[in-house]
Amino acid sequence: MNRSKDLDTVAPDDEVFVSKSAEETPKKKNINTEKKSEVLLTKEDLTQKIYNILGHTKSPFSSFLVRPKILTFAERDENEEIYLAVRPHWINNLSWIIVSILMLFVPLFFRYFTFLNFFPGQYQFAAVLFWYLITFIYAFEKFLSWYFNLFLVTDERVVDIDFNNLLNKHFAEADLSVIQDVSSSVRGVLGTFFNFGDVLIQTASEVNQINFEKVPNPEKIIKLLKELRDLEEEKDNGGKNNG
């Protein structure tokens, strides 16, 4: 029969049982100190962790910008750091690029319509100029809609900035602490081939859903969000324990 060491008397024949709790106490202390040190991750460690998850940005034209140095937004707090800026995958631009290229060649077909020669040269020039301006503004508007359609992950929150048709601005944000669920879906041949999809973030805030649409590497974004949420939770727990 096992007997505890801390009994007043120990019979010589009895096997001495060392209580687990007595052995584990110093270990628990170690775990606590490790956790505290994890909570107090240095900025360099965190940066390295982010790079490990997301990799480095190779091109400034990339739609997946890791810790962009120049990019900023009007609603950004003073010390807020952007970890990730994402635009929809560039392949989504292919349709309007093809349409724009086709539009460039449309005036060439006018040559085959002889009745248009009825108009004087000046009219024809004005019409062609007008057509090219429309082609340009079509492509420009599509590019701007893509370029200013940004999803940001900062050290405090996730942000969705969206401009539709040059005239409408949409801004949504949610603190990292209120994120409840994150899910992703990769659909279609292009999505699977180029690895882009939607990331849906469910939150407990007023804006209960933030949807990152057609973004590249959704699995990396989910991993980053999970890491940041864990860090946020650890911070909260650390704060409560200290308090």
Partner: protein, 76 residues
Amino acid sequence: MDNILNINGLENYFFIITKVFFVSCSLLYLVFALIVVKQVTSMSKSVTDKFNAILILFSFIHLGFSILLILTMFGL
């Protein structure tokens, strides 16, 4: 004015109507080009990135061409 006064047939009426149509379209387009400049500028203020200056430049070039379009239309 001389062109308008020298109306001597259906053809001239047709060209006048076409010209009025083109001029009004180009005026509307100029207003649109101004809105584009305004919007690109405000977008750039909202989200600052490397290529914002180039985008603003493009919007101004577009405005310039729309002014050229109006001048062409008036010259018809």
